[in-house]
Symmetry: C2
Subunit: 250 residues, 2 copies
């Protein structure tokens, strides 16, 4: 068949496009150009029938003629359910790529940093090793949070540890013993235990917590001593900055 | 004096503007708007009479009516020399701020991540606590490097350690014992010793080295086993990704 033969010679490119942490202006020129010049725009589907973070960020940049492809990445720890879901979204994307159409996948934060995109890309590469993928780096939450605080995230010889979540409190104790700067992503579910460690180590003056950094719902907590319990959103991040010399920030 | 009195009421804002890692399109919309709407554009002075990285990145975005302010940050370990230099650049910037003029300081990478801007901001805050500072987050080199490799920098429960430089090989050994992903900035001066550790731990298949990521001089090394010695540029970064399951990247 002529059309198949032609299509086999020209596979579309999957662009992994970082769209930043919330403020739509924290997208790069490069990412915006790709979003505006690609017909098929994919993104992770939101939960509870609401728009997802990436979709919300990019909505002002899209035109009516662009086709939205909302892809379902379930929130579950079941590896089997996840693998099935990753194969499904890979096939959805492949339907376009195999016809020579490009797909831009918008992802909050940076495309390589604990990103949903990784599972789509790895699954696609496994099923269709010939797939062409390009990644556009973006603003990640530790850097966005530091700017929101007016805090140097790292300086001079400081070591930085980033923990994606807390599976044991020993991990955090270990990190605090070793590195000057410790970033704890997804702190919401373990906040009360983390607070105890901050208290034990007298680190309240060195702990910076932000919810939904750079969005219009950004909320900064400056003196955690007064907040042993907090009901935080999923997008909360804690920076513990154990500098020897306290410096002033704004 | 009327003009002084008026000026005292209106101090300008110092914007710390991240301009990314090299590709001028890896600047955010927000950063670009500030650069294009501020008259005084400061940046770190280059060495050997060449343009600095940040100045090179932004040159295509500036207009002739904008005033360039090239600030000297010496490359030295002498804390005394550094403090003198930081005070000098702070005063240079303050001359504009105190008159109510805004200054945009362009800095490569992210403004909070091992950034020259930190020393200017902290010194200014010390001398003039009333100074107003805003930071615009940007693309940092670990994320830019990961995208250049087509590598997920971090995924799932992986821990990330970033070492700004290597002051002892024990630090690297320690990091590799503990974290799945270790990023070594400024690897040039210690590359030969790091290579020995990669050999000892059989990590060549997990080590990714890039010089000048995202610039038109980007150079990626994929099989370090063959390069026990390399003369690398200052802007070289090594990612060691000790994933249990080898995954394919492109």
């Amino acid at each position: 068949m002529v059309s198949d033969s032609r299509n086999n010679n020209k596979i579309g490119t999957l662009y992994g496009v970082s769209v930043g942490t919330g403020d739509p202006e924290l997208i790069t020129i490069k990412a915006l150009k790709i979003l505006q010049n690609t017909k098929i725009i994919a993104f992770p589907k939101g939960i509870h029938n609401q728009k997802g973070v990436a979709e919300t960020i990019i909505q002002e940049y899209l035109q009516p003629h662009q086709q939205k492809l909302s892809l379902s990445f379930p929130y579950t720890l079941s590896q089997e359910t996840l693998c099935v879901a990753w194969e499904k979204v890979s096939l959805e994307v492949w339907q376009y790529l195999k016809k020579g159409e490009n797909v831009a996948f918008a992802c909050e934060g940076d495309i390589s940093f604990y990103s949903t995109f990784t599972y789509l890309a790895l699954t696609l590469q496994k099923i269709h090793p010939e797939v062409k993928i390009e990644r556009i780096a973006g603003i990640s939450s530790p850097m966005a949070a530091a700017s929101a605080f007016g805090l140097p995230l790292t300086m001079q010889e400081e070591k930085l540890v980033i923990l994606p979540a807390l599976y044991s409190l020993q991990e955090l104790e270990f990190a605090l013993d070793w590195a000057e700067i410790v970033v704890l992503m997804k702190v919401a579910s373990v906040y009360a235990q983390v607070w105890d460690i901050l208290a034990k180590r007298d680190l309240f003056n060195y702990a910076y917590l932000v919810e939904k950094a750079t969005t219009n719902q950004e909320k900064i907590y400056t003196s955690l001593r007064n907040y042993p319990n907090l009901k935080l959103s999923y997008f909360s991040i804690l920076i513990i900055s154990q500098r020897k010399h306290l410096v002033s920030y704004q």
